[in-house]
Amino acid sequence: MTGTDRSKRQLLHTTVFAQCFSPCGKYLVAANNYGQIAVYSIVAALSPNADEETRKPIYSFDGSKGSMDLAVTETDTGTELLAGCGDNNVHIWDIESGNLTSTLSGHKDYIHCLCTKNAGRECVTASEDGTVRIWDCRQGGEAVQILDPSSHEATARPSLGKWVACVTCDVNEDWLVCGGAPHLSAWHLRSLSPMTTYNSPGATHNFAMYHEDLVPCSATSVFSVAINSKSECNKVLSVAGSSSKIDICTNFGYKAFSLVFDV
């Protein structure tokens, strides 16, 4: 089997799990299930003379073919790195020194998703064990609050399982949205109760994020939705999932074109 044939095969079975826009908003970085990381130039892909070539990565490299379930986020101060790991714990590192400062343990299964709130002083984790836990990063120890969407009657879908795949907080930090096997639902943080349930029969949720007022959410095979809000002229919505194509929507309405994960 020659290299080109193999990569063509891989292309057919590529799933893009994560993507991220550069701080300048000109580039999009995406990672796939083969541990490959590709960099796209959004500016070139949006330019008037864009063709097939500009929709391919301008640069790509092999990341680690890690099997660890990792959810990483940075605090607002930028000095701490939080990782929700496959060992059911959240580890916090100091980025400057590289030292592990603390470990938050309590989840009974691995962690799917992690987000910070209150300027990085607290973090919210969603886990395979069906709970969403809110932690105080500075104190460590047990979780401050525990939400249980998998057992709450308004949200639970026992036919699909317990796992909570995604969690996110809104800007004012009054509301939390989580979804997975249970229904995608918005929880009021002060009363710790589900307020709204977003029904999507049969589909499980893998990704949720707040964008202005809407809650884009996606069903099983889409793994990542990103909005390039860093650059006004390149403001696009990109959607990645179980395909080698990353769909770019320029007007948030329909797909404009696709980037190809062709490394």
Binding site: R9, P48, P158, S221, T250
Partner: protein, 601 residues
Amino acid sequence: MEISKEASEKKRKRTIKIESGTSGGAEEEEVEQRKVGQEVTLFHSACDDITRTIKEIKALKESSDKDMKVEIEGKKLEVMLQVVMLKKLNRLSHIRCKKVKDKTTEVKNMIDKSQLQLQNLLYEILHLEKEIVKCLAFRSKDEEIDLVPEEQFYKEAPPEISKPEETEANQHKLTLARLDWELEQRKQLAARLQEAEQKREQMDANNRTTHEQLDNLQPKLNSILQSTKPVQDYLNMPFDAVREEHMIAQYLPHPLFVLYMQTCAYRDAADKGLDVKLEGDVDKAKSVASAGPVTIDEESDSEQEEQEEVEKKNKKRSRRKTADVQKADKKSKVFVRHPLSVVVQVTCEEFRDYVGQFGHPYLWAQKMGGLQFLSGEPGAPQSTVARHSLPSTVSRLRRRLQSRLELLTQLAALERGTVPVSSKYQSLFPVKLSSSLKSWARSTYPDFLECPYTQRAIEARTAGEGDLYFRAVIERGSANLTAQIVVGPDYPIEAPLFCVNISWGSNRTALNDIHVQELEEEVNVQYEELVHAGSRDQLLTNQLQRLVMCLDVYLETESLTASQEGPVEIAKEKVFTRTARGRQRTKPYKYSSDTGIFTHR
């Protein structure tokens, strides 16, 4: 003495009195003659007289003389006279006063008159001044006219208009002269304009007549052309057709027109094997051409031409996100494919003829024959070329032949319904598999194309017409898996491709179930684990066996997570560490032969 004097005065006074008594005019004259001061002294003396006389009368009365009575009477008379005198003086003063008043009024009137005159004069001055200002502010029409500069005027204008001796000193005359010159020039230009218009009309008339002549010529020419047709046909010189094609060619977009003309010229001059044709809807092209070029006022539009089949591709992409309707309309016009296309066919007569006759000229066969066409010129056969390529070619041929034979035995076993896993590879799979191969049959490329779940593979161009196609069905209980299998000509170097559809309640394919996609990946991409270093010949069988194994895992994990009521159709037989992992709920497809446990990849 004094008394006498007084007496005389009295007399005089009396006379005065008489005079005054006679007429008023006399008194007025008196007033004019005498001065005020005199009258004042007269008044004073009269008063004094009266006082003195009264005193005398008093003294006389006191003396009480008898004769005094006469004297007193005299004295009384004198007083009376003096009183009359006073009266007269009073009257005179009144007259004088009146006179003065009259005089004052007169003078006053005089002054008033002068005052009035003065004011009239002042007003007149003001008015005149205003008029002057108006005159100064007046703008003549000639100022609006652009005149030739002074120097040019002196240079160009004839002396009878410019009159330098007069105008050089006098600005006004200079301006007049310049205006005259302007008028003169304008007259000249008007004359020229008229002349030119006449000429133009004449030319127009000429043109019309010529046009008419040409129009008359057209039918004649047509008839001549019509009559030449048999000759053209006879001589096999299709000038008419060529002309028609050239007429169509003018509706081509510019780059295509250039291409067309160039290839035509090249064909006519050098290469008869080249065939140039125009295809497409001429009427549409005409309408496109008459609509004029569509332009979008944006940067960077690149026009590309392809070499063989040429079509116009205008790739323009808006950088702007919002485009108004008009622009979108324009853009859609730009993106429209031009109705005409130029077809250039390069035919190589000899080659095409000989392939049918003698078969394809394989490169390896040529090399084995010592032929090497590096520069395109056929050279003499060289034994070194053959020596280099012969061993590898033969070994590769042998290997391919062996692989084919091996494939044939595998296919025969599969068609009998068994998966012939050789003992070398037994350890790759668990001993007990519940799913089993139900059928294996040849399929065709058109059948492959029709399956909805093969579309992604077709889009990725991993399957072609030259490949072998098979259709396998694997069953376990009510679930069955249909796999479309592509075996390329390069098998086993290139692994067969499996496209899977699991029908278990619903149809599950890579398009709607990510676990099926992962299952396909397990078979299609991770196949290197299925072959030993020495030989790849068992690849197809092993892939199929892995597919059977993965179906087991798929069904067992699915029935575990979907907690249904009633008896579970698919029982859990495999050992998993975990049924799902990660956000994509990956299934544990990987079998660890050492422990017999299924894990995640």
